[in-house]
């Protein structure tokens, strides 16, 4: 049995941490979303008008849908890139496995901002991509739509989040006992049937975890639109940022934050249920 003192010492730091950095901020945010701003000051009067605004002013819903479209694009693209990579590495890379794994991980050590700026230099009108296209005489003048478009945001975030999709996928593929693949071949299934009937179903939990990462991380991103997105690809987090900043409407910002939080939590809840259903071991 542990002593009382020991229990106190062990449990106090996490309780403090959760209270100060999670419960308190969330409570404040939640409270703010039901207050209002009057004459440039936050008035502590309980009301629902912030939530009403979300549905009255279509801009917010429009931006939310755009954000979700971008997030879906990033999720899809990172799966399309991450799955073949994870599959190849897990089943066919042999001795190069460890090296390749490190190569996938290394970009995670590079600052998000550095990678964002790198895309700026690649996609800009004086950038590497335009320089190359003109060099091979595919275009005569710099193409301007590479940068400052939702496309650029999707491209940059796909680059940044593909490792996050790759990791859980790779882990779930590595967990598939190899004798299941042999058993499948043994009883008459070729590589294609084995992939769709054994490997893919058994990797679904990892696929779902990776997709959830990419989707939710994109949903909360506000730097990519600032760096490479431009006005046409403002995302919901940019609106929250401006409401808390220059616009000084904390209650409305808080209401949006609470809505996104609810969306995120219900999504996590849903995927967790699915993951449990799909993971059979």
């Amino acid at each position: 049995m542990y002593s009382r003192a020991y229990k106190w010492i062990v449990s106090t730091p996490p309780i403090l941490w959760v209270t100060i950095f999670l419960l308190l901020p969330y409570a404040l945010m939640f409270a703010h979303s039901f207050w209002l701003v009057r004459d440039g000051v936050i008035a502590h009067e309980w009301n629902l008008q912030n939530y009403a605004k979300l549905f009255q002013n279509l801009v917010y819903l429009e931006v939310l849908f755009r954000t979700m479209r971008i997030a879906a694009g990033v999720t899809l693209l990172s799966l399309l890139l991450g799955y073949p990579l994870a599959y190849y590495m897990s089943f066919h890379a042999g001795v190069r496995k460890d090296l390749l794994y490190q190569l996938v991980i290394v970009p995670l050590w590079v600052s998000y901002l550095v990678r964002g700026y790198a895309w700026k230099t690649i996609l800009g009108s004086e950038g590497v991509l335009n320089g190359f296209l003109q060099y091979i005489h595919l275009t005569k003048e710099p193409v301007s739509f590479f940068l400052y478009s939702p496309f650029a945001v999707v491209l940059m975030l796909t680059h940044i989040y593909t490792p996050f999709v790759f990791l859980p996928l790779y882990a779930s593929l590595e967990h598939i006992p190899r004798n299941l693949v042999e058993a499948s071949h043994d009883i008459g299934a070729g590589s294609r049937a084995t992939f769709f009937r054994v490997i893919l179903p058994l990797s679904l939990p990892g696929l779902l975890a990776g997709a959830t990462f990419a989707f939710l991380l994109t949903l909360g991103d506000f730097l990519a639109p600032l760096l490479v997105g431009g006005p046409s690809s403002i995302m919901i987090a940019n609106i929250v940022q401006s409401l808390f900043g220059t616009a000084y409407d904390w209650p409305l910002g808080a209401a949006i934050s609470v809505s996104i939080l609810l969306l995120t939590i219900s999504l996590l809840f849903f995927t967790e249920r699915l993951e449990k259903r799909w993971s059979v071991r």
Binding site: P177, N179, L180, E182, A183, S184, H185, D186, I187, G188, A189, G190, A193, R197, V198, P201, L202, W278, V280, R281
Partner: protein
């Protein structure tokens, strides 16, 4: 490799070899610098129950994996029914495997696991359900058709694995230590079921095990492997009565190895002497413990090799006594019918016919 013998099983196995199903021709396999199989040649008759017996690292599982198609031979060929097998991918071979760890698909039910092979081969729905039922009935697992493998016991999973492999009606069934994960009682029971299933279906079984008792109980013939080479291929009775090598003699059952010197048609090992037909020089003989008799128990034939020995140790095991003897500087093991405590010196004998010459 097969030594001369006259038991009926042996004759039957030989006659059956007229109808060769699988032929392994000088197959060798290395993993890096390690030579796992050293030019193995082996024929398996249709309908035969052949066991690959050997210690871990003897190459028995590698040979099985080559036949299944999970590995490619370094050199040599494998043929089945007049068709080259080793160049076919494993999913084209009419060979199915029961894996040591069962390898059931965890995301599929028992029924779906068994149906898998038929589904990928494009059988019709009605054919699939008929044959799946038949296969599940064969292994008495119909009532678990809708269960997931994780909810089944080891023995039940084993049966499902068997049904999954048999539903494709293979010409050859490979079994990779299928009983090693089961407890002793269940193991005995499954041995019996496997054997009767094999007789009923008439499918050729290639069984891998490291357990010599299991090999003896189940097999028509045993192929004994050591360090990637075949020591002996023969029926259990033949291999027990006439082990080809000292390794075969010691691995299958217990034995006494007598190092003798032959001159003028007489083998001499210390003070023991018996007639031998081998050429002069050193020779090794195997004498089974049950071939060494106590003179008081059994009347010795006229040509018996008699000797006096000291009983060093006696272990009673119900119907028999295991004796550790010392005679003429040799330590010998004997198994005699139970007869009460023994001590001191006694006279023992063995028949020269039971001193089987073996290679080193």
């Amino acid at each position: 490799m097969t030594a001369a013998g006259s038991t009926t099983e042996h004759a039957a196995a030989r006659a059956a070899q007229g109808n060769v199903l699988l032929e392994v021709r000088s197959v060798a396999k290395s993993f890096g610098p390690r030579e796992v199989l050293k030019h193995i040649s082996l024929e398996i008759a249709a309908g035969e129950f052949l066991t690959l017996l050997g210690e871990s690292g003897s190459g028995k599982t590698t040979l099985l994996r080559l036949i299944a198609g999970f590995e490619q031979p370094g050199s040599g060929e494998i043929w089945m029914s007049g068709e080259r097998l080793d160049t076919l991918p494993s999913y084209r071979r009419r060979v199915n495997t029961v894996f040591q760890s069962y390898a059931l698909f965890p995301h599929l039910t028992v029924q779906e696991n068994v149906a898998y092979g038929l589904q990928v081969s494009g059988a019709t729905k009605s054919e699939i359900s008929g044959r799946v039922n038949e296969a599940l009935q064969m292994v008495k697992m119909q009532e678990f058709a809708a269960s997931r493998p994780a909810t089944l016991s080891g023995g039940q999973q084993q049966r499902v694995a068997l049904a999954r492999a048999l539903v494709n009606r293979p010409k050859l069934l490979l079994l990779d230590e299928p009983l090693s994960a089961l407890d002793a009682n269940l193991r005995k029971q499954m041995q019996g079921e496997l054997k009767s299933l094999q007789r009923e279906l008439g499918i050729t079984f290639l069984f891998v095990t490291h357990d010599q008792d299991e090999a003896m109980a189940l097999s028509d013939r045993i192929a004994l492997l050591k360090d990637g080479g075949l020591e002996q291929v023969a029926s259990p009775r033949e291999i027990y009565a006439h082990p080809a090598t000292s390794y075969a003699a010691e691995f299958i059952g217990q034995t006494n190895l007598l190092r003798a010197e032959i001159s003028n048609g007489v083998a001499a090992c210390g003070s023991l002497q018996w007639p031998a037909t081998q050429p002069a020089g050193p020779a090794l003989f195997s004498v089974r413990p049950e071939s060494i008799h106590l003179s008081n128990d059994a009347a010795a034939p006229s040509d018996a090799v008699r000797f006096r020995a000291t009983v060093r140790q006696q272990i009673f095991s119900g119907s028999s006594e295991h004796l550790e003897l010392e005679a003429a500087g040799q330590s010998l093991r004997s198994r005699i019918p139970a007869r009460g405590p023994l001590s001191g010196q006694h006279e023992f004998w063995f028949s020269p016919a039971d001193a089987v010459p073996v290679r080193e």
